[in-house]
Assembly symmetry: C2
């Protein structure tokens, strides 16, 4: 059950073979995957999107509570999310890992099982990567390549005065999940036989440990013939992302506090922790929801869609970016990203 | 002169702005570079090549003797080399770095100056990346995107019986440079006022610390209308790369020991260290030369080109892969890659 094969017994090339065997190519844009100096892709009549994310042990994940399979899944998902945020379709990923001696071949298989599961679910091909030994923790670097029709790409820079601001799903749950896991970790360090009780909090854990990218939202908007004017994914927190759109689009922002979508588990946990719920939702990060703006004219069409909340509107730049509180008072939006550095 | 600005004073977005400001886009294939969720590229009528390399402090570089600017330059070059090894042209890179507290903003500028210098020299656009704090050493992950006409891509798998095997430049120098640097590091640890004397060994240091990718060879072959049947770059050592070609092409290999190109500085250093010169050239690695096969019919045309050595020939697979010694004896080629893991 807990078989442990040292990586040294396979060597670099043996490990790569083991981790990448039986990969079935799913996309026509993939001409040649793993196994040469570079992967070969074919993108006729499509723009090519490229994004990359680095995940470092101790910074982005903690293996005391995050299973390697989940870490792999999440490493892929956060990249897919960036491609969807351009209104694109992820097509290929490369995966580089730096592995210290404490990891076994079976550990790496777990990690890659998570990556491959994400690839299967989202229809993405793993086409290359690099493996290296590491003196310290686990390092994972994923690059994702996606495609989009030229006239369908949505940048951060296209928001216009009077546009409506929308966000998918709900916010703050991943952050509360992290707080919960960190608390249980601290408690379990004190007690030897500690068994954490997460019942009724499953959603928070899932949002932190196994997030999804909003492929469904992109497909739903396309089906409804709604093309956002600007879009970004919520990775560093709603405030931070809104300010990116404000800056890149040269606009102002009005965000309604009482419109921010929050799950009841998030709210209950914030109360238990005596934390400010709105702060968690604004600055928590790692939600991987899509934040986008649409012309006022399609307001009704968007309102009819499930899983999308209208949370504010776009103004001229001289009006600045503010949160409108429940009492109608305005507080400046401040980027207080959650991610370290 | 030795100004030190803490990265925390800029924050993640401030640092990214500082490191990527004033980037001028050089390639028509780059539609949108740094500054959105993903870069946007346009590749009409060309195949897209993707490669990635991970460089970790203490494994791939040692900052006791490698200047950060050189580390950055090399991180870009090793990726360009992979694109050339497909007979492609590198067009874009993304750069992700994990940075521990001991690095300053000025340190990161040095690193990026090296990367940007490589991009300027090789005509490549930096289009994105990621920055993160790191609990330990410096982590650099570079992904390179390149282009090639569909009918000009050269894989590892195209070598045919009776093909001629060629390699560019000379081999083993980067490995000897590393040995030299490691020795001087050990000596300087013992003596406080130690000043290493590298005169007459400049080539070895340059090959280790600031390698180049063989863009010139790719251009020369194209000009001479010579399309290799298979190609790979020499990163893990000549033996290892030849065996990759043998395996992927399903052929055998005969390599002549006395044909392996070796610089006199490499030979002199091997003698000083009492090391086997051929072993260093066969297994040293990090040469970033191009190893390729050509049809027998263009043997004369290739022989006329400067900087390319004919080192052996391709056989049917049942004849295996052997080094033919100076005495005519045959020794099996063994992959004994230099890179850790």
């Amino acid at each position: 059950m807990n078989k442990r094969t040292e990586i040294a017994t396979l060597g670099e090339f043996g490990l790569i073979r083991r981790l990448t065997e039986n990969i079935e190519i799913k996309n026509a844009s993939t001409v040649k995957g793993v196994g040469d100096d570079a992967a070969v892709l074919h993108y006729e009549h499509k723009e090519v999107l490229v994004t990359t994310d680095l995940m470092l042990e101790g910074i982005h994940f903690d293996l005391t509570y995050a299973p390697l399979k989940h870490v792999g899944y999440k490493a892929a998902i956060v990249n897919f999310s960036d491609i969807y945020a351009m209104n694109g379709k992820p097509q290929q990923i490369t995966v580089s890992v730096g592995i210290s001696k404490r990891f076994s071949v079976e550990d790496m298989e777990e990690l890659y099982n998570g990556i491959r599961l994400a690839c299967d679910i989202y229809g993405v091909d793993m086409v290359g990567g690099d493996t290296s030994s590491s003196l310290t923790g686990l390092t994972i670097s994923v690059t994702c390549i996606g495609e989009c029709d030229k006239d369908k790409i949505v940048y951060r820079s296209g928001a216009k005065d009077t546009d409506i601001i929308c966000v998918s799903g709900d916010l703050g749950a991943a952050y509360m999940g992290l707080q919960l896991l960190e608390r249980e970790k601290a408690l379990s360090a004190d007690e030897r036989d500690f068994t954490p009780d997460f019942s009724g909090k499953e959603y928070l854990l899932e949002r932190q440990l196994k997030p999804e990218a909003r492929k469904d939202i992109i497909e739903m908007l396309a089906k409804a013939n709604i093309l956002p004017t600007s879009m970004i994914d919520v990775s560093d927190g709603l405030s931070s992302e809104l300010l990116h759109i404000a800056k890149e689009s040269n606009v102002g922002i009005r965000l309604y506090e009482d419109r921010i979508p929050i799950d009841y588990q998030t709210a209950a946990q914030a109360e238990e922790f005596n934390m400010n719920l709105v702060t968690a939702a604004l600055n928590g990060g790692e939600d991987y929801e899509l934040l986008f703006t649409i012309p006022l004219a399609v307001h009704e069409a968007v309102s009819a869609l499930k899983g999308i909340s209208v949370i504010g509107y776009v103004t001229s730049p001289n009006l600045g970016s503010y949160l409108i509180g429940r009492d109608g008072g305005e507080v400046p939006l401040i980027a207080q990203g959650w991610n370290p550095l």
